[in-house]
Symmetry: C2
Subunit: 342 residues, 2 copies
Amino acid sequence: MIRLVCPRRFCGTVAVALGVLLFVYAQADAQTDPLASWNDGPAKQAVLAFVKATTEQASPTFVPPGDRIATFDQDGTLWVEHPLYAQAMFALDRVRALAPKHPEWRNKQPFKAVLTGNRETMAKFSEADWEVIVGATHAGMTTEQFLGIVKEWLATAQHPRFKRPYTELVYQPMLEVMGYLRANGFKTYIVTGGGQEFVRVYSQQVYGVPPEQVVGSSLLTKYEFKDGKPLLMRLPKVFFIDDHAGKAVGINLFIGKRPYAAFGNSGGDEEMLQWAMAGAGTRLEMLVLHDDAEREYAYGPAQGLPDTKVGSFSQALYDVAKLNGWVVVSMKKDWKKIFQFE
Amino acid sequence: MIRLVCPRRFCGTVAVALGVLLFVYAQADAQTDPLASWNDGPAKQAVLAFVKATTEQASPTFVPPGDRIATFDQDGTLWVEHPLYAQAMFALDRVRALAPKHPEWRNKQPFKAVLTGNRETMAKFSEADWEVIVGATHAGMTTEQFLGIVKEWLATAQHPRFKRPYTELVYQPMLEVMGYLRANGFKTYIVTGGGQEFVRVYSQQVYGVPPEQVVGSSLLTKYEFKDGKPLLMRLPKVFFIDDHAGKAVGINLFIGKRPYAAFGNSGGDEEMLQWAMAGAGTRLEMLVLHDDAEREYAYGPAQGLPDTKVGSFSQALYDVAKLNGWVVVSMKKDWKKIFQFE
């Protein structure tokens, strides 16, 4: 055993000095680790190796800065999507807020189920039901009015389990990946099945992603010139669905460059990852597996997790991931910390 | 009269030194004038005043860098659009190139007119005729194949009057405005009625505008998974028309921010300029008037210029410009130089 020998009167000083040194060392380590919330393992190593392979001048797969594009799904990849997508929560809150002006909703589905809190019926809502709800809550106003309503909602709404604003329920490890990629010259895009204009309200503040780097689903808008002023009216008609194949189409439409890195968590992201992978050079595809019921949620049939309607990670997707060498991120094993507030 | 008195043997040296000084001064002036190809006048002053008002910290209408958006129409605003838009020239060349595979085109309009060089009929082509031509020449291939075909065409095609590649027929004064705005933190976008994917092929090289900052018209694309690889097939069906009201819609859709400066040259740009102007703070709206038949072209009924089908600048648009304080740029009076090669 090695003992630290010191004259008694200096022992305390030495101990304090050692403590300070250790603290400084730990701080420096935290500061130099761009992925501090990730446990060391294949997922973290894959991100580090990808950045090395694409940004080091000497690398045979070096990518010029202008081509460094990374795309991220939002719901379930960057923030919590359970028990329901935040935007669906917004839509339901809007139905309740608008109900006094629509007495006819009391006896009309899908509104009736929302207004009476009939969870069983709501759980069975079809795509068509949701379209009716979106049409009634997201349209019939100008783009500016819509942004104002979303802003107001985000400031007051709380997640039913975490009792916090939705904008705090972002995954700290993913924010670190976004920041690390940006620090290495990548342009980070959100490519979401959710509403483009909805996400644009908070994308800069929450993710550091400016509105022009949010690709999402959208309603048709109509230019009108009223009282000498132009307006864009949101119509209750779908213009573009940025999900599944729509994600590859949307990336080509809005960015016109193929991503070198793509991040998702469900079947809706498969085509985006396929699209990224089909490019030359080193590419990175990652899928977040929700397997941490304690700290967040555990769902999706992959690896025998409970099946849910929202953000399903099927066994088939898991098999495609394995086959293609896509990195599956286990929230439980790979993430030291899930939320910043922990 | 002031005479430079010098001992005879030094006179030569002094003259050379003075010459060098004058040369250095002129160089420095050219280097410090970001709009060197503009004659001094209200148009040039408007650009300088706008940048001052939006970027100087002390200005009451200072705009944070992230919000500095400038949008530019392309045809007739950034490059030559006469006698026909470059992309229309491309389409006609493609009809001729593809004709051997389509013997039926010989007796079928609108192809017949193109193949027989019937200018009279071609001049009367309707929107529907052009849609048929675009469908036959811009679709039925993957996005990557299309980019390759455009690239090849641009490398060989020449403008009928200037006998130069189209990509050399860009307006030097407008390149200077784009560069000056970018040097002052503005993100420059092309917002064109032309094809988004067409313009993206050369936007970076010609304008310094990356593909993701090109907003344009587009065809529908379809994701397909063939032989283990994803493809995007271009379908002969219009997805989005980025012209007139479509320019305001497209700006909101693709950028999600209102431009502080907008540049156009025809009725198709009016809504874009209205949209920019409706924002708060200092905004700049400019319209290029083609009034220089000698160095470029003179057309559009504004100010009694000859009327043409392509890129018309109507008297009504001129009146709207005057009413709203939009700056009308006279190519003849405001531009010292039109092309870089002059």
